[in-house]
């Protein structure tokens, strides 16, 4: 990964690619790379869909190596949803292949003058950028099928569906899994709309003739990887629960904790939870000839993804993640697994963030556009989005815009981005993360659920405000650093509890890059990434009043614990004091 591939989509005479050395970006990867380039090169006051914005696609520091779990791909830009800096990351194969191709980043710059769409094909020998309007408005699954026919099976694809072409603020960037399903997404913040604005429909990465990146110290690297994999296998969450049930194992526990936001954040529990739990999904999947244990990229040893077949045993979607099951499930009052899996597929196919879309449809239900619990209406609304009807375009703009259009007071967003599946009144630590993350409301940015609910890395009482600022701060720092490595965030369960597994991760980085990182340098890396992101947002006009939850979380108590969000404003303003 010695180079950056820059493609000027607005160049005179058509798009032009140039390869540059890393320069000031040497040593950066993943979110560290995307946020460095955005904060340094993108004018913070630019329009996210205009030529001054850039879309940066970066594998992590360990992507494309033999390290397990190292295929996260970071996608960064100024977000059309939040108006701030954005990094959304995804699993799937592309990070591995991009790393092996030697690119530490692809940077899409400028905008084409007309309305043409392009495909970018990157192989070992050359980069081709071809106009191909026959791909326009293809859904992700149809698009990848076409790419397979043209380029064979040894590829990985990064693509947008119709939502990205229509520049919807909830549009995702899709990544293919090992079987070439476009089912892993950099979902949040409308990164797909920025790719659409650049006129790029798909990036095809040709895996032919590529070799794994070679570590500086092969022996130490192998030894560290062995200890790392053993640590993941030994921890009960990464070794047993995630492969057996996937992320949706959380439905029951968050519901039992009274932190499961149902009917647009009205209640903290949902009567239909057991019908859509991870346990129920896993049984259903197995009974239909599919299952809950699948790796989203080669080299994944946790295997938390899965495959969901319909009642005739035909592929319906990948196993929906917990947040998707929640957004189209309890949030909308829906308890039908088949309908939820159908909604998951439509989001992947149209190229939409499942969290933003499910939350938006729940807000539309609050407004009376459809009834809570009406799964067919939810699916029909998703088709409106995919078709780009006037109603669909309003929904595709996300929950904040839809709430304003429909006159809804209760709109669960921070910095314009929808809250995910954990109510901040009953899990106060996640409320701190939602409020203060530079990304807008994002559970992954500082996953306090681990400590507030799951008792990983200690325990902080979720129902009290004490200790939440420190918890969220430390997790936001650690997460920013992990997001730079290309490692899947789920390694955190093992490294929070097992110091020797954290050491194995450091040893992997050190053996590969010839470094001498310590836990202090990891903290330093995480802080520096957050500081760059906060600085960009500040220059884009964000102040401390943007680091707040919607007012109703402090005013309306949530059942069954009858709690409000109690962390004070002055405490929220302390999160980034270091």
């Amino acid at each position: 990964m010695e180079n950056i591939l820059r493609i000027d989509m607005g160049a005179e005479g058509g798009p032009k690619a140039r390869v540059e050395p890393l320069g000031v970006y040497a040593g950066m990867g993943g979110r560290g790379m995307t946020s460095s380039i955005i904060s340094r090169e993108v004018p913070p006051l630019c329009h996210p869909l205009g030529p001054e914005n850039k879309l940066v696609i970066a594998p992590g520091l360990l992507s494309g190596t033999g390290a397990a779990m190292s295929s996260r791909l970071s996608v960064g830009c100024k977000s059309p949803l939040t108006g701030g800096i954005k990094e959304a990351n995804s699993g799937g194969q592309p990070a591995q292949v991009l790393g092996r191709l030697g690119y530490a980043a692809i940077v899409l710059e400028g905008c084409p003058a007309g309305t043409d769409f392009y495909k970018v094909v990157i192989g070992r020998e050359r980069v081709r950028i071809e106009k191909d309007n026959s791909l326009r408005m293809l859904t992700n699954y149809d698009l990848v099928k076409r790419m397979r026919e043209e380029y064979g099976d040894r590829i990985a694809c990064i693509s947008i569906g119709p939502a990205g072409e229509m520049k919807m603020a909830s549009a995702s960037v899709a990544c293919t899994d090992p079987e070439l399903r476009p089912s892993r997404h950099a979902g949040r913040g409308g990164v797909g709309a920025v790719m659409g604005a650049k006129g790029v429909k798909v990036i095809v990465l040709d895996d032919n003739g590529l070799k794994a990146r070679q570590p500086k110290d092969l022996e130490k690297f192998r030894d560290a990887n062995k200890r790392f994999v053993e640590g993941l296998a030994r921890h009960p969450v990464t070794g047993q629960a995630l492969p057996a049930y996937g992320t949706n194992v959380l439905t029951n526990i968050i519901n039992e904790a009274g932190a499961y936001p149902s009917f647009n954040f009205r209640d903290g529990r949902f009567d239909g939870a057991s019908k859509i739990s991870g346990e129920t999904f896993a049984e259903l999947e197995k009974s239909r000839g599919a299952g809950p244990t699948h790796a989203c990229h080669r080299g994944c040893v946790i295997r938390c993804s899965g495959i969901f077949n319909d009642s005739d045993g035909r592929f319906l979607s990948k196993q929906p993640e917990y947040e998707t099951v929640w957004s189209f499930g309890g949030h909308c009052g829906i308890d039908d697994p088949d309908m939820i899996a159908g909604a998951d597929f439509l989001c992947d196919d149209y190229g939409l963030d499942t969290i933003e879309m499910g939350v938006t449809i729940g807000v539309a239900m609050q407004a009376g556009i459809a009834k809570f619990g009406d799964a067919r209406a939810a699916i029909e609304l998703l088709h409106e989005v995919g078709r780009g009807s006037p109603l669909g375009k309003i929904l595709g703009a996300g929950a904040a815009v839809a709430g304003r259009v429909f006159g809804v007071e209760k709109v669960p967003v921070v910095k314009g981005q929808a809250l995910p599946a954990y109510d901040p009144r009953a899990v106060q630590g996640i409320g701190v993360t939602y409020a203060t993350s530079p990304m807008g409301a994002d559970h992954t940015a500082g996953y306090s659920i681990a400590t507030n609910i799951l008792k990983c890395g200690g325990f902080v009482d979720p129902l009290k405000p004490q200790g939440q600022v420190e918890l969220s701060r430390n997790l936001q720092i650690a997460t920013a650093a992990i997001d730079a490595t290309g490692m899947c965030l789920f390694i955190a369960f093992a490294i929070l509890d097992q110091p020797e597994t954290f050491q194995a991760l450091l040893d992997l980085l050190n053996a590969f890059h010839g470094l001498e990182l310590t836990s202090d340098s990891v903290v330093e890396l995480g802080r520096s990434i957050l500081s760059m992101e906060r600085d960009f947002n500040s220059r884009a006009g964000f102040t401390k009043v943007h680091d707040r939850l919607p007012r109703f979380f402090s005013k309306e108590p949530l059942s069954p614990h009858n709690v409000t969000f109690m962390v004070g404003d002055e405490d929220l303003d302390r999160v980034f004091n270091w």
Partner: protein, 78 residues
């Protein structure tokens, strides 16, 4: 003395394999979570997260008539 009480016990994920998902536990007074685990033949090491009425507790916590006890093995996601 000898007060009869009912506790709803919910088992999740791997804990319900070969057992049950939701059951009612009948017992005498002064029960703790540990007593209930013992009578259900669940070892303390299998249980990572204990809720009584949706609040985190540990194995020494007292269980009262009408309580709901929810037990989870180590789980995670996100």
């Amino acid at each position: 003395m000898g007060v009869f009480m009912k506790v709803t016990v919910k088992l999740f994920a791997s804990l319900c394999s070969g057992r049950f998902a939701v059951g009612v536990f009948d017992g005498g007074a002064a029960l703790t979570v540990r007593d209930i685990l013992k009578s259900l033949n669940i070892s303390e090491g299998e249980v990572s997260i204990i809720f009584i009425n949706g609040r985190h507790e540990d194995v020494s916590a007292a269980v009262r008539d009408g309580d709901t006890l929810a037990l989870f093995p180590p789980v995670g996601g996100g």
